[in-house]
Symmetry: C2
Subunit: 628 residues, 2 copies
């Protein structure tokens, strides 16, 4: 809806003029105009994450929730929840920098890539037709290219005659040799373009989207780029986003993620001196819900028991059908998944871990917004999923943030410390992403803090963060003095106002510790259930691989300390990084790997935890912070 | 271009108001507004077929060509060539009825049809999902339908979840079992729709388009409908149309034929109580150029030596990609052709003749706008093409018309006649299509007239139509008195003014006989070349099949009399009717036949006559009207 009323929006120092349209709140205005703004609760006014500053205009009286969650300093500076702010003509809104910040944490692939890509090019010099060789154009190309099949688009067929003649019958064939080892002609280009054949590997995480640019001729990943998933505006976790899509349509969500991927690929192409049309193949992984949104499949039935996806098999679709802006002849290949909650990203991670190639048993723990666990070896694989992740991505955590600039990403306590500190009973230290002032606490930081609190006794075995006056004597003074209150409940001071970006102190609250407790118990119980189900003792597990947005960044010692990974699995933990992204890149350069993915997806035994009594028991057992 | 200037157009008694736009002549105005009007010469002002009457407004001075080709009566009645008539605001133009008349000569299929269609439906009752059976929707459908593969459209995948749940997991699967005997899921419909599965078989002749409606469940052709190919407005023969498409684009021609087929299918569906969406499969045959236009492939290289088509293989394309308005999941399957001038219509005719199933050698002569000839048996087949047809469709013949209402379609001379006639030296008689007043001469009528002239000696062995004063004495008086002059050259009076629609006499001219002479020599020489090339004696040919628009309607005795079919092949001639249409229907109800078509297309040896010395010799030999 076009209206005469507009607001100004400042983001990254630039001001934009934006139509209010029929939007009832500023969050809706910003989302409609595709500004990136976090809104984990989906705009229900409860999470307080969609903070903006009213730079001009009347911010109005703060709501009860705003009064409860925002300091008086912030309130008087004009900070409000975007989802509760009524838009008025001429208003000027500033989006704080942290909303748009991307986390370029994904790193380039170091593993050697196989070079038997599912898509190849062959430069051809066709014999020109003559009265003695009246072979039709298409047959001529097929004959010379060695393809037995073709699936040229109608458009390609329509330009074929001219394409051949314009280049004097020198053309390049784009050939797919993916299926049943039979070469299939996909497209024709004039002249010799065989040196230009690029692919993209995209991993759509619930929180982060990573895109890799891959040279399919040399089988090398040359660049990577990642961004916060813009679907964040529809909610932090898959269930919230499914609800959103049921109200507003799957298309609304699909368009956001497709537009984001198109922009990311355009950026990757541009900064590497390519055109997006040089990209012919995009392999896309992600959890099952993310792939549903990306392809436009309806994820509604994934959201409720019995959690049924529309499709988990690998789909090979025309890029144009998905509105993916790569070469017009391009193909988008989604990787196969296993179930509604063990997706293609897990299959890609399994590939990256190579656990499927080994006789020893490995355990793969992939914690992003959800936590998926895989156990097995060359002969068998079993997997399960736990809804454990959102806490580790900052959702439901009072000062929680994703892996953004200024997030506390590590925290440690040294009982000795420097001499001065020793007198004070040890020293705490923290790091933040990009070493900038503290903007909040991300998953790995929270895990470290919790580990310190458990190890020093500030959190007891039942998971209670003790009030200062009930702390055991053994708690060192440096910890003790940080045990305070926030909003009348026990809280641990992580960073005082001098260290933070906005001059407000940052705490880990009693409630935050409970959230972490639930999350870590779910993952530990998932691991136990898989082991029990397979009859495997912890001692038989040769390697524990950590993967995923949170899994890769957490401190393994902290994970063991809080019991996220049971103690008996310590001593063989290996971090894989963005295994889903790595596996996706591996699949795009190799049809063997691509076939492997399909084999894995078919053969993993999925264990549904929601109906498993053994999981329920293990969950309760792992709830405490004692050693198991 | 929208202009303020309009003309009125009367067709079939109804008046329409039409924009002149930027059109330079009335033909362009009429073609732009999709009126059906014959223009075999493509609007170059030479054929005189695009006649219209200026009912109001100034027709202007007649051109030299109009004065030459139109009687003074016609000129003063306001008849003019549409292509030479300058449009003026307020003009009223009447299109004579014959332009739009369709020839519903195609008849329903009497041959038994095999029932193993390439497309089937299966009604499915899926087990609803449960926590113990979390199979994704797509896998659930594939499992129950017995399909190993799927090619659901993105749209179908997007609605799949709802489709299954809306019908309580009772759905109908649309399944293709065309290729390598592996069932492939194509679409899903709610509920049990298995009883509704229709196909269309379309034969795009250069002159006539025939469409058959086929029940794919019972394998029965239930209706047929044919119309003059609306591309006639771009020229009578393929070469003229190719020239037109090079000037105006292939799309312009494609849109006309696709719109016509859509209208024909809509009419067939409507009069049989169906929706067009009940049609899931359209098999389309036609000569190679017609199939190029239909699919939008560029036929330019077919028009010049070495006559190279873009593709002749069978193509299976999404109906939507071709703008064919059948079921959105529908497929359009073009039949495979053999070369630039031996098309899919010939392959279909071979199938209909069943010559490929027999050990005895057969000869197939398919004369439509072109003349194609096939020789062979179960072990081998050879084919050639002669540019012989247009004359038989009325092109380049002074009073020639297609098979329209009032066309003289048979002509005979009885030397005895009734008593009164015997005194006058015999009796001539003629028939017209639908027994209406004479509108012109169509191919079969012309052949009969020529046969009478040759047999009575009015045309000598060199093909000269003799002036009355040089006729041999043996020429019977009833013929002699009709040998007269038209435009200062010898001509034969076919129908005097009392018998004709417009009160002007109709002649066969000396020049017309020459045209027929060239055409019949080409076909006879083609037959001889095939026989010689294969080392087959005429006596070894067990059957001669006649097919095609003209082939089916000509009198075999006349064809033998003028030497169109060499005499030594007499006595075993069989008329197949619209063999191309029949074969296309056969292919749509049977994947075996469909496979047979592909086998035939691959294995027919094509003999290029344009570079054959043996053909040149035979052509000269067959030029005369003596027995060979």
């Amino acid at each position: 809806m076009k209206s005469d009323r507009t607001i100004g929006v400042i983001q990254d120092g630039r001001q934009h003029q934006v139509d209010i349209g029929g939007a009832a709140d500023i969050l809706a205005v910003l989302q409609h105009s595709r500004f990136t703004i976090a809104a984990p609760c989906g705009g229900s006014g409860t999470c307080g994450k969609c903070l903006v500053r009213v730079a001009a205009g009347d911010p109005g009286q703060p709501s009860t929730m705003e009064q409860r969650l925002l300091s008086s300093g912030r309130l008087s500076a004009g900070m409000r929840f975007a989802c509760r702010l009524v838009p008025a003509d001429g208003m000027l809104i500033e989006i704080p920098r942290w909303h748009a910040e991307t986390l370029n944490k994904a790193s380039l692939i170091s593993v050697p890539l196989q070079n038997d890509p599912p898509l190849i090019k062959r430069a051809l010099r066709l014999a020109p037709p003559s009265i003695d060789d009246q072979t039709p154009d298409l047959e001529r190309v097929l004959r010379t290219s060695g393809c037995a099949k073709q699936r040229l688009s109608v458009h390609a067929l329509r330009t074929l005659a001219q394409d051949l003649r314009r280049g004097g019958f020198a053309v390049t064939a784009l050939i797919e040799n993916n299926a049943d080892d039979c070469d299939c002609l996909v497209a024709i280009e004039c002249g010799d373009t065989a040196a230009t054949l690029w692919g993209a590997a995209v991993d759509i995480g619930t929180t982060t989207v990573a895109a890799y640019l891959v040279n399919l001729v040399s089988a090398r990943a040359v660049d990577v780029f990642s961004e916060i998933n813009r679907q964040a505006e529809f909610g932090a976790d898959v269930v919230t986003r499914i609800s959103y899509s049921q109200k507003h349509g799957v298309t609304a969500v699909r368009q956001v993620i497709v537009a984001q991927i198109n922009a990311m690929l355009a950026k990757l192409a541009q900064r590497n001196g390519l055109a997006v049309s040089d990209i012919y193949l995009a392999a896309v992984a992600g959890n099952t819900t993310m792939l549903h949104f990306f392809t436009g499949l309806d994820p509604a039935a994934i959201g409720v028991s019995p959690f049924i996806p529309v499709a988990t098999r690998a789909l090979s679709l025309a890029a144009a059908d998905l509105d993916v802006a790569i070469n017009p002849h391009g193909v988008v290949a989604t990787l196969p998944g296993i179930s509604g909650y063990v997706g293609a990203d897990v299959v890609a991670a399994i590939v990256a871990s190579r656990m499927r190639q080994r006789t020893e048993i490995s355990l793969l723990i992939d914690i992003g917004t959800n936590g998926e666990i895989v156990l097995g070896n060359v002969d068998w694989l079993a997997a399960c999923s736990t809804a454990a992740g959102p806490a580790f991505e900052g959702a439901q955590i009072r000062f929680g943030v994703g892996g953004v600039d200024g997030a506390v990403n590590s925290f440690s306590f040294d009982p000795e410390g420097s001499r001065a500190d020793a007198q004070n009973g040890g020293q705490v230290s923290l790091t933040t992403i990009n070493s900038t002032p503290v903007s909040g606490i991300c998953g790995s930081g929270m895990l470290d803090i919790a580990a310190v609190l458990v190890q020093t006794g500030a959190v007891d075995k039942t998971g209670r963060l003790l009030p200062r006056d009930r702390l055991p004597r053994s708690v060192p003074p440096a910890i003790r003095e940080r045990c305070t209150e926030f909003e009348s409940s026990p809280a641990f001071l992580v960073a005082d106002s001098e260290l933070t970006r906005d001059g407000e102190p940052v705490y880990l609250t009693e409630h935050d510790v409970r959230e972490l407790q639930l999350a870590k118990a779910a993952i530990a119980a998932g691991i136990d259930t898989l082991l029990t189900d397979a009859g495997v003792e912890a001692g038989e597990v040769a390697a524990v691989y950590l993967a995923g947005g949170f899994g890769s960044y957490m401190n393994a010692a902290s994970a063991l300390a809080v019991g996220l990974i049971p103690h008996r699995l310590g001593g063989r933990i290996e971090v894989l990084g963005n295994a889903a992204g790595i596996g996706t890149v591996m699949s795009i350069t190799s049809r063997t790997v691509s076939r492997q993915c399909r084999g894995i997806a078919r053969n993993v035994r999925y264990i549904e935890l929601s109906s498993s009594a053994s999981f329920q028991n293990a969950y309760i057992e792992h709830m405490g912070f004692g050693e198991l």
